[in-house]
Symmetry: C2
Subunit: 337 residues, 2 copies
Amino acid sequence: MRVTINDIAKKAKVSPSTVSRVIADSPRISEATKEKVLKIMKEMNYHPNMIARSLVNRTTQIIGVVMPGMAEQSLQHPFYPELLGGIASMANKQGYKILLANVSTVDEEREMVKELTFGGITEGLILLTSRDDNPTVEQLVKNNFPFVVIGRTENPYVNWVDNDNFLIGYQLATYFIEQGHRSIAFLGYSPGYRVTRDRLNGYKKALEEHDIPFDSRMVIESKFISDNGYDLMKAFLAQGKSPTGVIACDDLLAFGAIKAIHQAGLRVPDDIAVAGINNVPLADYYNPPLTSVKINAFSLGTKAFEMLQTIMGSNIRSYNQAIIPAELVIRSSTQRG
Amino acid sequence: MRVTINDIAKKAKVSPSTVSRVIADSPRISEATKEKVLKIMKEMNYHPNMIARSLVNRTTQIIGVVMPGMAEQSLQHPFYPELLGGIASMANKQGYKILLANVSTVDEEREMVKELTFGGITEGLILLTSRDDNPTVEQLVKNNFPFVVIGRTENPYVNWVDNDNFLIGYQLATYFIEQGHRSIAFLGYSPGYRVTRDRLNGYKKALEEHDIPFDSRMVIESKFISDNGYDLMKAFLAQGKSPTGVIACDDLLAFGAIKAIHQAGLRVPDDIAVAGINNVPLADYYNPPLTSVKINAFSLGTKAFEMLQTIMGSNIRSYNQAIIPAELVIRSSTQRG
DNA sequence: TTGTAGGCGTTATCAT
DNA sequence: ATGATAACGCCTACAA
């Protein structure tokens, strides 16, 4: 049997409440008994039962992090781990623990979120999402449960933190144009994902500002975050398209694209310049080193937790949005010698 | 105020126990009242409080996963996420949730583990570790708390799952030797980590079997899992060493090494063949594609959870070990044209 | 400063 | 088949 507050009380010949006060480090207690109780607690190797404590003061110090996508794949992208690291680092610092829920399907997500919100085990939720249609968000809003979305939603009544993806697309395209490119492919547009839409819109805006007509055939669609850049690019080149630059929505796509370009007997960046987004660790080690956009996923995570803590801390609802700045990291894959 | 079992009972004009029976789907209840209660539960949007439930039946359906290293870095390596995915996928399937604890220091780890074991919130623990001296393990053994280590420990009274790192080192070295290499550098040996020691020993064994004298100067030390392969290799080459092959303890090290080799005006694999370990997603996209060893981190995770569940399920302690097979994935970085 | 008693939401044991 | 009652371990008025 585990040792409880009562065991301590008996041994110390005090009441359970006194022991409780010692645990809470209450000032309403004499130094003497405090010492005595503490000593006995140590002797008996006592540790408070968090479950019982949670039951009475309705606080678990646990937040849930819901990750989308197949459990088998969602964590594979370097973007997610970094995000998770950011959340965890901040959460731990504030005494919170993280319940990780990576779900495979929307149904699973709905069930999981329901459990987490109503089960009373998590005090708040951080949702990683980028899909437009997210029933989970509506569900949470309706239940008035504290949560923060990493990504962006159409619903204005949510707290979110995100990069400015429009700006990212705009800056990348502008950079390419300034380097003299007029024919720039956009690799990785995925209609269901706002991230890629925003980026594409930024790209269009840049073209427009420089009087370059937008050519929809330069847009290569794909599932977001996948490594089929090779196949996509290969097919694209096989159609006889010949851009001088490629902006990929993800570094992994870019790596694949570069491979296809090389295989087609073309050089990067001399024939085709390529840039990615996310600045994965290997971007710097690739051959050629890949120009990318550092989106600061870690900061995205820390900021999300901060925001969540703010919400959890007050019962008046506020709706905040935070933009984490991204920075262009220029490397050889876009710099012609 | 949240709706409880009592609210339901009142509204349904039954006793709380009856409601509880409905929740538990007990057979000792009439179909009629069951329907009635279920209807009211739905009407009032009732959801059982897991905390209260946990308090009485001492089961939270939560396991803890303790990750070492700086919160800022530990999750960065593709190896960990994949592992986590494996654990999560299996755990979710079995109705368990995961509490993620990534700790930065040994002190933090000790504290965290203490909380998790005594707090009553996790039923079991999975420990990611590879360092030799792990006080946490001793602590857990002493407390007779169910846990599984991913990696290996000196202590025989622990359940662990791991790859056969000796075999990995042996197979890689044998492969190199069979390709005609006689001078093979071993990059990434880190004395404190058994993983690298085992791999190095496997490497030595292979050399020995082929009567190749072991040259300690061919061993390049480093911190495990770090991306300074570039610097290490650069310094190594600057010393005038000229191996024909390099076995790196990690793909990231290998990528860095290749970069340094290229920069020294040498070719891979023609001048120096390079292989890594872990088979990160990008190994296939690198230029040249990197020969590596697939360690099946996902399986490591699923197996670890299975093992943990076995332990948690019975109160007689058993000590099992599982070896997850690894496979050599040969790519261009070691294949001379 | 310390003790008593009631309650947090559920489940389990006995009755009925 | 259903209800009353007592836990589970802790906290917190309210008393003393």
